[in-house]
């Protein structure tokens, strides 16, 4: 579509650490959906400046991308 994507950047928390965190927090907060927990822990692991995108842009009325 001609849109440049930000390249994936290494997070400050390793994948192994994320798995450990997910197991631990999943036990502490079992009501949080595992998929949401993945998203949250990944979001917390990515520092500002790591290439994260978050602004939605309207490409035509009612259609937004980021």
């Amino acid at each position: 579509m001609g849109r440049t994507r930000s390249p994936r950047r290494p997070a400050t928390v390793s994948a192994a650490d994320l798995v450990k965190q997910k197991l631990r927090i999943g036990r502490l907060l079992p009501d949080i959906d595992p998929g949401d927990l993945d998203l949250i822990l990944s979001g917390l692991a990515r520092p500002f400046g790591s290439g994260r995108r978050f602004f939605l842009r309207e490409i035509k009325p009612g259609v937004r991308i980021f």
């Binding site: 998203l39 949250i40 979001g43 500002f48 400046g49 602004f55 980021f66």
Partner: protein, 160 residues
């Protein structure tokens, strides 16, 4: 690491705020995502005090960023600066939930972003304002914002 265009926009706004010496608190979804919430948004919301001096500084901020502040809708006092990268909204004195500039400032965080300093409303206040605003787009974000806050607190416990 290199910043995305969205992160670069946040940095450009911080630079412009410093340039025109306008004190602002980041509120809204960007404040949440700067604290790790996995959310997306349409704009960057800044809360400022409504003073004559700040109104002048906001016009200078627009010039600095290459846009012109305009009212988004009468009677809302919110000013908007439309920019190619994103939209910047300037709110005055308080946000939904009766959260005043002074109260938000007292509980705010000071974050270092790309060598700049940003004053950001705490996650608890962001959640409270979205609960009070009650628009569908605010309500839709509440579960993930609340869960992120709970996860952050759990991570801070020993062994986290």
């Amino acid at each position: 690491m290199s910043a995305s265009s969205d992160e670069a926009f946040v940095l450009a706004v911080l630079d412009a705020l410093k340039e025109v010496r306008l004190e602002a608190i980041m509120v809204g979804s960007v404040a949440g995502l700067l604290q790790g919430c996995p959310v997306t948004t349409q704009d960057l919301d800044l809360l400022v005090r409504d003073t004559k001096a700040n109104r002048t500084k906001i016009r200078a901020l627009g010039r600095c960023l290459g846009g012109r502040p305009h009212l988004i809708a009468d009677p809302s006092p919110t000013l908007r600066i439309d920019l190619p990268a994103a939209t910047l909204d300037l709110l005055f004195d308080q946000i939904s939930g009766g959260l005043t500039f002074q109260a938000l400032r007292a509980r705010s965080l000071t974050l270092s972003l790309g060598g700049r300093t940003a004053r950001v409303a705490c996650l608890e206040d962001i959640i409270a304002s979205k609960e009070a605003a009650g628009r569908p787009k605010d309500l839709a974000q509440l579960p993930i914002l609340r869960d992120t806050l709970r996860v952050k607190k759990a991570l801070q416990k020993p062994g986290g």
